[in-house]
């Protein structure tokens, strides 16, 4: 079982998001970067699948040179090979990104030839909800999105997801593309030997050429919301009578 996991480096936001002065990016001077959360789970899932069924995990990202950091995180967790599609820092749209992932999946240079591609359901930052589907379409592979459970037996995938409080199940053959959501597993922490191995690993690098998608970003902005400060009802249990009265006014008491 050869699995390619596609991950994205995204700003790590804590208390608030700040946009750069030119309105083109999230200001990351005060924050770090991380792997987009659904994709952390995609890496973990790939490692768990190969632990059960054998095979190897490759990890890919399309991003600036610094995105190698996220590839090394995945290598430290157990991925065996990493591919960086290095950009000049410009943002890539979902159509061009999908095309480059397809090119890697098809790259015929003694690479593994993949049985399964795993991606996050949507990237935390751009939230385009489509890269995995576009990749599957071009490859002519079946695709399931938003998946929170994967079982693979004899080349058949059973993929589960939540749907309005119930569960839907998809069954299809490999090779396939699956996008996963956080909650499918609890990602492990890297081991010390894993970290050392990741540090030494050679990252395969390609430099695809940027091209525009049909949607062109003009500016980013933080939505205008009333920044309010809560009215303090009181301290500790002394505030409980006021709280009960308030809940009564809101019409939520039994």
């Amino acid at each position: 079982m050869e699995i390619l996991v596609c991950v994205k480096r995204v700003p790590q936001v804590g208390g608030k998001i700040v946009v750069t002065a030119d309105g083109q990016d999230v200001d990351t001077r005060m924050s770090g970067f991380a792997m987009s959360p659904h994709e952390e789970c995609a890496v973990e899932e790939a490692i768990q699948i190969t632990e059960r069924l054998g095979g190897g995990v490759s990890v890919l990202t399309l991003g600036p040179p610094d995105a190698a950091e996220q590839l090394r995180e995945a290598l430290a967790l157990g991925a065996g090979r990493a591919v960086l599609l290095e950009t000049d820092g410009r943002e890539w749209g979902p159509v061009a990104t999908a095309d480059e992932i397809v090119a890697e999946a098809r790259r015929d240079d003694g690479g593994p030839g993949y049985d399964l591609l795993l991606l996050g359901n949507e990237a935390a930052d751009t939230g385009d909800y489509q890269v995995g589907v576009r990749v599957a379409h071009t490859l002519g592979w079946p695709c399931a999105t938003g998946i929170k459970g994967i079982e693979i037996t004899d080349g058949t995938v059973r993929a589960r997801r939540e749907y309005r409080g119930a569960e839907e199940l998809f069954e299809f053959g490999l090779p396939a593309v699956i996008t996963v959501k956080e909650g499918i597993n609890l990602p492990r922490y890297p081991s010390l030997p894993g970290r050392l191995r990741a540090k030494r690993a050679v990252i395969e690098t390609h430099q695809p050429r940027w091209r525009p998608d049909g949607l062109r970003k003009q500016a980013l902005r933080v939505p205008a919301t009333e920044r309010k400060q809560a009215t303090v009802l009181g301290n500790g249990v002394d505030a409980v009578p006021a709280l009960v009265t308030l809940l009564g006014e809101m019409g939520v008491l039994p």
């Binding site: 939230g127 995995g132 998809f170 299809f172 809940l247």
Partner: protein, 329 residues
């Protein structure tokens, strides 16, 4: 302008998210425009769709295409685009809406814009394709993007938390068209089987009251008073990301960007600091009340009211007070 809108069903009627998408789509179609619903399953009562200004419903009956198959649904939409000459195709930004529209984008080779807040046609571009001025959500709505889309038709999902469902000023008379899909090989390779494990309880996404617990709860054993309060108020418990990452509670209870977006009357956030990824999930609550020991916690700039104190004391006292009130009533 002609606008197609995917309408998902909830039981026998249109799902709430789809009514929001229809409200948005009617606005895009504009006065005198044509708003057509695309339905898979039995068509909801004509009046219900007509009330939202829908003039035409293209219905693919279960006998033609049974169950949810994302690529097949997209194939149907692609066929209807050719048939109607639609200027835009829209769907609610739900799991299914996003998935089907992504497939439609892939099938047609057109861009697909996720989670739009507004879309206005701004005229033909240099190569003749329509251009659209778009506002869309990034970061689950924590950030907005102004963008220019060049595409005929425009394909987009609607950020449903930004649109309230509103019937049209004047209802439309609905014409129902039974649609015969022309599917391609492989369109049904991925088709959902809905399992029978539908839980009987209140769901987090639609609960009227959500009692939230965060790091301040302290561990997996601290949730009993929150559960008791939630049950007493006919609601459910929701938790922050740290709680699910620590494995204290199952991920399905997570409120936030990577969990569930909630829309309750009351969100009572206990021991939750208010990381922005959590706010993305609870900002649409009508009222937010925080219980927190830290008067400087970020949650206090999103909450309407706050109690400063230890949730382990405040919540049991609140439960007792509500019970006592019930007993005396």
């Amino acid at each position: 302008m002609t606008v197609l809108c995917l309408v998902e069903l909830d039981g026998t009627g249109a799902a709430d998210a789809s009514l929001r998408a229809l409200t948005f789509a009617r606005d895009v179609a504009g006065p005198g425009g044509q708003l057509a619903a695309v339905v898979f399953g039995e068509a909801p009562a004509g009046e219900a769709l007509g009330a939202y200004g829908v003039t035409d419903a293209y219905v693919t009956a279960p006998g033609q295409l049974a169950g949810y198959a994302p690529l097949a649904w997209a194939r149907v939409l692609a066929g209807l685009v050719s048939q109607t000459g639609a200027d835009a195709v829209l769907a609610a930004g739900t799991d299914r809406g996003s998935e089907v529209m992504a497939h439609l984008g892939a099938l047609t080779g057109l861009p697909m814009v996720a989670n739009c807040v507004s879309a206005t046609r701004s005229g033909p571009g240099p190569d003749g394709a329509a251009t659209w001025q778009i506002v869309r959500q990034r970061w689950a709505g924590l950030l907005l993007e102004d963008a220019m889309l060049e595409s005929s038709p425009a394909l987009a999902t609607v950020a449903t938390d930004t649109v309230a469902p509103a019937p049209a000023d004047a209802p439309a008379t609905l014409t129902v068209h039974a649609h015969q899909p022309e599917l391609a090989d492989g369109d049904l390779a991925v088709r959902a089987a809905e399992s029978a494990t539908r839980s009987g309880g209140v769901s987090l996404a639609t609960a009227r009251v959500v009692v939230g617990g965060g790091r301040g709860v302290g561990g997996p054993d601290g949730f009993a008073p929150l559960e008791e309060l939630a049950t007493l108020l006919g609601g459910v418990v929701g938790v922050s990301r740290v709680v699910t990452s620590e494995g204290w509670r199952p991920h399905r209870q997570q409120v936030g960007q990577t969990g569930t977006k909630i829309t309750p009357e009351l969100y009572l956030a206990c021991g939750i600091s208010g990381a922005i990824q959590h706010i993305a999930g609870c900002a649409s609550a009508k009222h937010i009340v925080a219980v927190n020991s830290d008067a400087a916690a970020p949650i206090l700039s999103h909450a309407e009211y706050a109690v400063i104190g230890d949730l382990h004391k405040v919540i049991p006292a609140l439960v007792a007070a509500i019970k006592a009130r019930g007993g005396s009533a």
